[in-house]
């Protein structure tokens, strides 16, 4: 009382004035992220089987897998699209992926800011031998559109 609390506060701030600072020199010194840190996504198009489990697990309809069937009736991947603008980074797609190694997985790249709206899309395409003609991308290649959250 009578200003003692104020003086105590002045003492604390003076003590902190001389203590080491915690500021990170960010662009020069990159932060050490833990193993599980969820940043951007990495996609392994060689292990992907176009099963669309990730697309179905996604609460927000972020993932669109476009594929066609080749002559033998096997699913062939054309394009894998993620709209990171709607992504919740919940990890349900990574959890749902049945392949080993995971076809879709997090990587620790956290710098997701971009200048153009188009850049929030992550698109991976796979080229197949010329004998197979890729379908028209505008046509709905996948049988059903993923559920949009809430409507």
């Amino acid at each position: 009382m009578y200003g003692l609390g104020l003086l105590k506060g002045l003492g604390v701030s003076m003590k902190r004035f001389w203590m080491p600072k915690i500021t990170e020199k960010y662009p020069e010194v990159q932060p050490k992220l833990p193993e599980r840190s969820k940043g951007s996504f990495q996609y392994n198009k060689d292990s992907c089987t176009s099963c669309e489990l990730c697309s179905m697990a996604c609460p927000n309809g972020v993932i669109k897998v476009e594929w066609h069937k080749d002559e033998s009736g096997k699913k062939r991947l054309d394009r894998y699209r993620m709209n990171l603008g709607h992504c919740l980074f919940c990890g349900l797609c990574v959890e749902a992926c049945p392949t080993t190694p995971k076809s879709i997985d997090f990587k620790r790249d956290f710098a997701l800011g971009c200048w153009r709206k188009e850049d929030i899309y992550r698109v991976w395409t796979k080229e197949w031998p010329a004998a197979e003609s890729a379908p028209d991308p505008a046509a709905p290649a996948s049988p059903s559109a993923p559920a949009q959250g809430g409507n």
Binding site: G5, L6, K8, R36, A57, P59, F89, G149
Partner: protein, 374 residues
Amino acid sequence: MGDFITEADGLETQEFILNLGPQHPSTHGVYRARLIMDGEIVVSAENKIGYLHRGIEKIAEGITYAQFTPYTTRFDYVSGAMQPWAWCLALEKLGNTVVPERAEYLRVIVGELQRIASHLVMLGSMVLDFSAITPWTYVFNAREEILDLLEAVSGSRLLVNYFVNGGVNADIPEGWAAKTEAALDGMLKRLDDFERMVSGNEIFLGRTKGIAPVSAAEAIEYGITGASLRASGVDFDMRRDSPYSVYDRFSFAVPVIKGGDSFDRYQLRVLEIRESVKIVRQALKTLPDGEVRAKVAKVWRPAPGEAYAATEAARGIMGYQVVSDGSTKPYRVHMRSPSFCNIGIIPAKAPGLTLQDFISFIASLDFVLGDIDR
């Protein structure tokens, strides 16, 4: 306030409307209070909310149970990790899932860490509303230590999607327990500094003592829950009195303060942080081995029925009513969010406060707009 000029002899003053918010530094989001003011004194206040309404309950009816789990972290984004708890409890009731013991312990640990982080935000933003920026940085640095732990265990810092139906997402990484102990020590040191700077500060006491005292009867009448209820002298904490998960295995005190004014609501958060630290330490010591996630079918169809579960979240009782129709999607999800009910007292208590006291009052109620508007 009584000391303030309330009657100017013979002079008439004109009342005016002040829209405090939705864009205002101290409404902690897009909350709007429509104040009718007589100079600096609030004559009446009205809550205007809904600016952040995302129709989450409707969204829930369109997606599956598992898909809704990450959404639950988005209401009260300040205490994201413990928000899915009530949802998961409701789902487990609905599906009769038995959660593995280790998962229960991990839930308690992560939940309490999140409670600490959430209360630190409240303390920091409350003193920030009195323009004390330096102590705010201390508690936010303390919170950083907690967030680092949450990131290590779940991958996210803020919207921690760790709790799932039937347990938790993943086991804790190696060495995490030791890191937690160290981080708690560091957090407590900063909290001590914060308290030395603020709790005895005469200016702070002047701004908070005796401001908008809420009596126990009023708190019950207005359905206030959580720390604000306990600050009014009602000895009720779901963790102790209606124990869910494994809270009955830990010894911790439930701090109760009788006054119910802004300072008591502040003080109670400080006390609760220290109790939460105790719980985390006990849980880390007695952490059993085993599975962390019960087997839940990928395409999960609970039996038709209804379940209600509630937890003591950082801001009060967070309740979920889940109605199932036997399909993969919930038929109806209703949530009872603590902030939404807690702000009901604002119009009742605001008249007569000065504008500065009003800021002090709403800061001490500790609401989060994501939690109010859903």
